[in-house]
């Protein structure tokens, strides 16, 4: 369970370009469910996602992760929490060009000191699971959009996180791919993972797999269902 209490994030404090990207948000995200953050661009949903995912620290307020306060942790420990709890699928997938799909998947586990052979086997397994096992040795610049997304999801799962976070997952996908993504989200949920997605795409926000919707505007939550 993730609980946010009066969370605020300010960028550029003390400067003329000061922005309050998130203002006093209270939110609870349930485990083993699919939650969607929706809202127009600039509404603060991506910033909120970085705060939930421990990618950044809130300027004010509290974030609890399974009861533990994580909002005040130094970066080092925040990273530790992040890599054991969260897996990220970024909007532009953010794979590292010049490396193979397999290496990209292994990357998040490098600092953990997992034995190389075991890590490699696990990465292969994940690629197989998402149907891109035959692409393992290919440079990521040679993958199609759909394949790249599946490699990105495999990478998000390499450290076996409890929560998978996807930022605008369908922005660069066509119709058929959207269905595939929703199927993968259902698959993750079935595996017992918590899934958090930002999107303004109605094909996602109205999908049946979604359990909870949080609508944002101007840094605040305007509507939360259920």
């Amino acid at each position: 369970m993730i609980e946010l209490t009066e969370v605020t994030k300010v960028y550029g404090e003390g400067r003329p370009d000061r922005v309050e990207a998130v203002r006093g948000v209270d939110l609870t995200i349930a485990d083993r469910a699919v939650t969607v953050l929706e809202g127009p661009s600039g509404s603060g949903k991506t910033t909120l996602l970085t705060l939930i995912g421990c990618l950044a620290r809130p300027t004010m307020g509290r974030i609890r992760l399974d009861g533990e306060i994580v909002s005040g942790l130094p970066e080092k420990f925040l990273t530790e929490v992040r890599r054991r709890t969260f897996g990220f699928v970024f909007q532009k997938f953010n794979l590292i060009r010049g490396m193979t799909a397999l290496d990209n998947v292994m990357l998040p586990a490098f600092p953990l000191g997992v034995p190389h052979a075991r890590l490699k086997a696990h990465a292969r397994e994940l690629l197989e699971h998402f149907g891109v096992g035959d692409r393992a040795g290919l440079g990521v610049e040679n993958l199609s959009g759909g394949e790249a997304q599946r490699v990105a999801i495999a990478r998000a799962l390499i450290n076996d996180p409890a929560v998978v976070i996807a930022d605008e997952p369908t922005a660069s996908l066509d119709g058929a791919r959207v269905e595939q993504f929703l199927a993968m989200a259902a698959d993750l949920k079935a595996q017992g993972k918590t899934v958090i997605i930002t999107s303004h795409d109605p094909r996602i926000t109205r999908a049946s797999v979604v359990d909870a919707r949080v609508a944002m505007a101007d840094g605040r939550i305007v509507e939360a269902t259920p």
Binding site: T46, L49, T50, L55, A56, E75, K76, T79, E80, R82, R83, F88, F90, Q91, N94, L95, I96, R97, G98, M99, D103, L107, P108, F110, P111, L112, G113, V114, P115, H116, R155, A156, N159, D167
Partner: protein, 381 residues
């Protein structure tokens, strides 16, 4: 322990792969780095090789040399003083020596003309014979058995035949040497019978050298006594000073290199920035990124240092440091062309590393840190 090792291995793997993905940028830097190591390394290796050579040469030098002084100038020593020295306790042997310099306009060089020691049977000469150093033989295109002429400043003519040419091994001092018989020497330079250039003194107990030099200077107050240790110090100081000076001049190139390294390390391409952002976002900690970048630096330093050192070693010991020879060796045109004995010691390598690797590391550490603290949420914006 295992996990820690595995982690470093993965970071190193990534660092090397990351270098390989940007070959042009890193190769250029490595080459410049290697060049700097090469320049500094050549000066240092050459300097120490020549000091070692000087040490070898001094090993054969007399323990004490006694020179007669008149009005603070070097004068000829007399036979009477020779006897006076011989009576001194602690002195095993005193050998009078005859040697001098001669400007040879034909060879356009300065020779050291010398009478071989009577105890030196290998170089014993009869009147009309000469043994020359390798440099002289080269300048005058001499070979064994060929005639060799010398003209004194007074216009006197000495005609000899080459008996032998000194081998290159002992080269640093013997290169410009001309050995002739005593009778020839005296008549050529017009030196009377009981006059000598100086005395070489051998003492019974090497630990007493300075005491004996003191005692001898009491007995012969008009003489100057120079010990081998004094000469060693002078040479050591001279060559160290030159080496240091050459290095100081090269400091400019070091500085240029440091600026280049700093610039390369801070001027990351958009692609590299993006990569670091991704690594941070997917769970790499700041210290992981720093470590990975330091591995990159280590790989570059290691490659450049080894390559530069090897090149310097080849340059100094196989090409006799062609680039720096004139600066470091001195002024004579007759310096030997001999291969220096290829020896390198840990102190020199450590010094060279301190002079090159440390500035490089200092130049890149702040840019590396700046890169490593990239906001992990940068990729989301």
């Amino acid at each position: 322990m295992g996990a820690r090792f595995e982690r470093q291995r993965h970071l190193l793997d990534f660092a090397v792969a990351s270098l390989a993905r940007r070959p042009a940028k890193n190769l250029g830097l490595t080459l410049v780095y290697a060049l700097v190591v090469f320049l500094l390394g050549s000066v240092m290796l050459f300097g120490s090789a020549i000091r070692r050579e000087a040490g070898v040469m001094l090993a054969d030098a007399p323990e004490i040399v006694a020179q007669s002084m008149v009005m603070g100038r070097h004068d000829l020593a007399t036979g009477a003083d020779l006897e006076a020295l011989k009576g001194l306790r602690g002195i095993r042997r005193v050998e009078p020596r005859l040697w001098g310099y001669l400007w040879d306009s034909a060879g356009a060089a300065n020779y050291t003309v010398m009478v071989p020691s009577p105890s030196d049977a290998a170089h014993a000469l009869a009147s009309g014979e000469a043994i020359v150093g390798e440099g002289v033989a080269r300048a005058r295109k001499l070979a064994v058995g060929k005639p060799f002429f010398l003209v004194s400043p007074a216009g006197k003519f000495l005609r000899t035949r080459i008996k032998a040419i000194l081998p290159q091994a002992s080269a640093l001092v013997s290169s410009d040497l001309v050995l002739v018989a005593e009778a020839d020497f005296r008549s050529f330079f017009a030196i009377p019978a009981d006059r000598y250039t100086d005395f070489a003194i051998e003492v019974a107990n090497p630990r007493e050298v300075s005491t004996i030099a003191e005692k001898a200077s009491v007995r012969l107050p008009t003489y100057r006594f120079v010990t081998r240790a004094d000469m060693h110090r002078t040479l050591e100081a001279l060559f160290s000073w030159r080496e240091g000076l050459a290095l100081a001049l090269l400091a400019a190139s070091l500085l240029a290199f440091v600026i280049l390294a700093f610039d390369k390390a801070s001027g990351l391409s958009a692609e590299e920035r993006r990569e670091i952002g991704i690594l941070k976002a997917i769970g790499w900690e700041t210290s992981d990124v720093i470590r990975m970048k330091l591995w990159e630096g280590t790989a570059i330093s290691g490659t450049a240092f080894l390559a530069g050192l090897l090149a310097a070693w080849v340059h100094v010991f196989f090409f006799s440091a062609g680039l720096f020879e004139p600066v470091l060796k001195g002024w004579s045109t007759l310096w030997p062309r001999f291969p220096l004995s290829p020896e390198v010691d840990a102190l020199e390598i450590a010094t060279l590393a301190l002079l090159t690797v440390v500035p490089y590391t200092a130049a890149v550490v702040v840019p590396i840190w700046k890169t490593a603290v990239t906001d992990p949420d940068a990729v989301m914006r």
